[in-house]
Each structure stands twice: as structure tokens, then as C-alpha cells.
Symmetry: C2
């Protein structure tokens, strides 16, 4: 596996590969890989001639109060894991390479970032959209895989690519769970044992919502109330949000929704904020 | 000459040309061509296998109070002129093609747009940067030519392309003048005969500044004072700004500048706002 640091070198490499007719798949990451990342890399590998993974803990998507400096890192382990998943190139730039002196450009969206994880972190999704626009221009992939774990991020990137007419496909990848159902996240390492145990309620509450839908319960408030009640049973859970929103633009759900909706939640256990989601398809039901 | 309306069709055309090894030059315009536009097209033709010109009067770079609806248009004449300048493709999308329902993405810059023509038109350069990012992704050119008439726009685009790592070269093209020195502009058609006559003072004042520099006068205030005095002699001239700013980021000039600076001005004659500029190189002089 090749490690490339400089954006210009990465771009030149990709241009040469494209000129040689190779299909380039891309998985942007912030590192500290788990099975969720590896699943996306294998998914990319299955339909590309070569896979590029970027590892960049992007400072512009962290708020000043957030955990940028203590975000978990282990480059050597990440390289071994990526290589085992069939990755050909690890693009590993420095913040100075990505944001040199005088840097001043931002890609921002007007609607999708205003809800859910964007409410209390206004610049977060602008940071995400901007760094992804840069990475797409540097890596020049034919497609890029984004996990459904960060569903709002996936929607932001799909909208950015469509709005700016960027010439690549955005491919959703599955959310991967631990055996007990907790969504995999690099931040799970922060959880204390009792927090880790109670955090499984997030998955259970989402499965309960799916069950309600299958039983013909289609009222937004009923679903949200039961999900909220389940999570409130866990004493360490501090709810940030639990919301049902219409796809793909995250408009507020109607009292009796129709079509595909995102049931998304963010809950803190101790100091660790976890997110999880599921897509509920209300079809034509009333 | 081929006329293409749909962004997807334009992108597919350009990808096929690139795959065939063709070098694509690009000149984005708002139409109503004059010799200034044609000069940029010929400049592109000289170093490309084919030249694409876009004609799009971009609504997002006009303020609500501005002249979007009455911006001069003559598509058939523009096509004839572009063809005569060696243009292969005219890309002519509708506003609905460029900004479909749900569109919500903006590319904005933090510094360069805050001065000169950006002061009273905050969203203008975000509109320009956004539409150019879109056009570059649609037309996929190897290089794009931007005239030095809109020097601040040229700087905005150069910065956007560098910051977002876009894979194309931005090539400056010369400002073209009428025989009496007035900078060519699609808006010159709005000038009444007496306004048109007095407007030649803009070019004369810039040439006077160049003359002062050659004579060893290097004080910012002296240069600006004399340029201002010259323009004030014309009774119909209403000065918007006359400024000297350091290149390439348009920082305020020192009292005794060093290096390359932009002497830029915007002056209204009647209802018509004209801009003009020249680059003054103060070299190592003191």
C-alpha cells in the first residue's frame, strides 16, 4: 500500500490512473479504523480497480470546544487494517497541506445542516462539505463511499455533489454494529463500562420503532414518544435529540408521514455523544 | 459551432473529448459579446484543441436591486461572434438547469470579497465563485480564461480554484479598451453620449497613476489624491471607490507600498456603474 502526503502528488497519481483507464474508489476517513470503516473499504474494493482512503482529522469540522486534539489516532494500525481491506493508497495530508496560509474558501449548504447534528454545531457540516469537495478534487475518484452511520453527512455530501455538478457518484455504505447492537464508532473507546452497557438502548429503541411501523403504527408522536421513553429508562442517557425527518432534505415529518423518513438520535452517555439512526419507509400507508 | 443546453450533456461531451486527448479551453461569460470577450476566446483557442464558451446571466451574482432582468442579451449575435472567434461549443443552460428545486450550496471566500466591489454587494462574489465551481465541474476544462477587466473576480476565482484543489489552470486575459481608452463592457451601451465622453477619464486617470509611478512618486495618498482629483473634474462622475490594494489578497496598501498592487476604481456615470483598474508594480522602490 502506497502512502501519499502531498495533495499535488495524490492528484497526479490519480490522473495517471484515470488516464490508464482505472476505476478509482474513495473512502474519506478520520482514521482509528473499526469494522465499519473496513466494510466501506471492502465495498469500494468490490467495484473499483483501486481504492484510495484518506486519513485526515479535519480541524474545520470540530468546534473550538470539541475533541480535535484528543481524537483517537493510530496511523500504523490504520495502515495495516486498510491494507488488509484491499486499499491501494492511503492519502495522509497535514492540516498545513490542506489549509495553507491565506486559505479562505468554504462550501456551505442552506438547509440540510440546519437540523439534527447541525443545530448546536453550525460550522460542522460546512467543514465537512468543504473538506470533501477538496478531497474529491485531489483524489479524483469515480465514486466515494460514505457510511449511513453519519446519515446527515451522507445527505450533505450527496447534495453538495449534485449542486456543484461534481463528476463522481456518492455510494451509501451500511452502518455496522457490534454484536450487542451498538453502532460502531471511533468514539466508543471513550465509554465507561456501565455507559457502554446502557448505550445499547439506542439500537434497541430504533428496532422498536421499526417494529411499531410493521405493526401499523404510523403516528410520528407515538413513535417518538416510545423511543424517548425507552431511552429515558437508562439513567446515564442524556438525550440531545430524537427526531423523525423526511428524506432526502430532512424536512420536519408530518403527523402521519408518507414516504422514506430518517429516525435519527443523538444521546450522551457521560462525556461521550453517540448518534444512531434508521430509515423508516412509511410507503403509502395512512 | 455546437450549442449545448443541459449540464449533463455538456459534461458527457467534455468527458468524451478529454478521453480522446483533447485540450479544452473555457471562457465563462454572461453574453452580449464585445471585443473584450472575443479576445479571451481567441486567447483560449490559441492553446486549446477546442474552446467552450458558457453564456449564462447568473442570477445569484445580482443583488435584488440590480439589473438582472434588463441585462443586455442577443443570443444569435453572440453565437455568430463566438463562432468567428473559433469557439467549438456554446454552453447555454437555463437558470432551472443550474439551480434546480432544492438547490442549496454556496461557495464563499472569507477575505478577497470583503473589499472593492464586494463592500456594497456582499453576496456577489459568492454567486460568482459558486457558479464558476459548477461551470468548471460541468465543462471540465484544462484551463479557463478570465479577463483582467474584472480583476477582483479573477482573484476570487484563482483563490477558489487553489483552495478547493480544482484541477484546472486559471489564465488571465487582457483588459481591452475602445479607441478612446474606455474599458470595454457590456454595460457601456447604457451610457448617454455625454456620460460616455466623460467616462474616458477613468482610463486617463489610471494612465496618470502609471506615469506618477514612473516619475518616482510612490506614496499611496499622493497617487490616490491625483486620480481622485482628475475624476472629480468630470461633473457626471460619482465615485464609488478608488483604492490601491496589495496583490494577490487585496490587503490595504501601505503608505509607501512595495510589490505588485491593484489600483482599482468604480465610478457611476448616470445610472451606469463602470469599473476599471491597472496593476502598479512598486518593485523594491522606496
Amino acid at each position: 500500500m502506497l502512502v501519499i502526503n502531498r495533495p499535488t502528488e495524490m492528484q497526479a497519481f490519480s490522473k495517471a490512473q484515470r488516464a490508464a483507464g482505472k476505476i478509482i474508489g474513495f473512502v474519506p476517513t478520520m482514521g482509528y479504523f473499526h469494522e465499519g470503516h473496513l466494510t466501506l473499504m471492502r465495498q469500494a474494493r468490490a467495484r473499483a480497480d483501486l481504492v484510495v482512503v484518506s486519513l485526515f482529522v479535519n480541524p474545520t469540522q470540530f468546534a473550538p470546544t470539541e475533541d480535535l486534539s484528543k481524537y483517537p489516532r493510530d496511523f500504523d494500525r490504520d495502515c495495516r487494517m486498510a491494507e488488509s481491506a484491499g486499499v491501494s493508497v492511503m492519502f495522509f495530508p497535514t492540516p498545513e497541506d490542506m489549509y495553507p496560509d491565506g486559505y479562505q474558501t468554504t462550501v456551505s449548504l442552506g438547509e440540510i445542516p440546519k437540523v439534527l447534528c447541525g443545530v448546536n454545531r453550525p460550522p460542522h457540516f460546512a467543514g465537512v462539505a468543504t473538506v470533501c469537495a477538496k478531497l474529491f478534487n485531489i483524489v479524483l475518484p469515480h465514486f466515494a463511499v460514505f457510511g449511513e452511520k453519519d446519515y446527515q453527512q451522507l445527505l450533505v455530501i450527496q447534495q453538495t455533489v449534485a449542486d456543484l455538478n461534481m463528476d463522481l457518484e456518492i455510494v451509501p455504505g451500511p452502518l455496522v454494529r457490534e454484536p450487542d447492537g451498538l453502532a460502531m464508532s471511533s468514539r466508543n473507546v471513550y465509554l465507561q463500562p456501565e455507559e457502554r452497557k446502557q448505550a445499547t438502548v439506542l439500537n434497541r429503541s430504533l428496532r422498536h420503532a421499526e417494529q411499531m411501523l410493521r405493526q401499523g403504527i404510523h403516528e410520528t408522536t407515538k413513535i417518538l414518544d416510545e423511543v424517548t421513553a425507552l431511552i429515558r429508562r437508562e439513567p446515564l442517557a442524556q438525550i440531545d435529540y430524537i427526531e423523525l425527518r423526511a428524506l432526502p432534505r430532512l424536512a420536519a415529518a408530518a403527523a402521519r408521514p408518507r414516504g422514506r423518513h430518517l429516525l435519527a438520535l443523538a444521546v450522551k452517555f457521560g462525556k461521550t455523544r453517540l448518534i444512531d439512526n434508521t430509515v423508516l419507509d412509511f410507503k403509502g400507508t395512512t
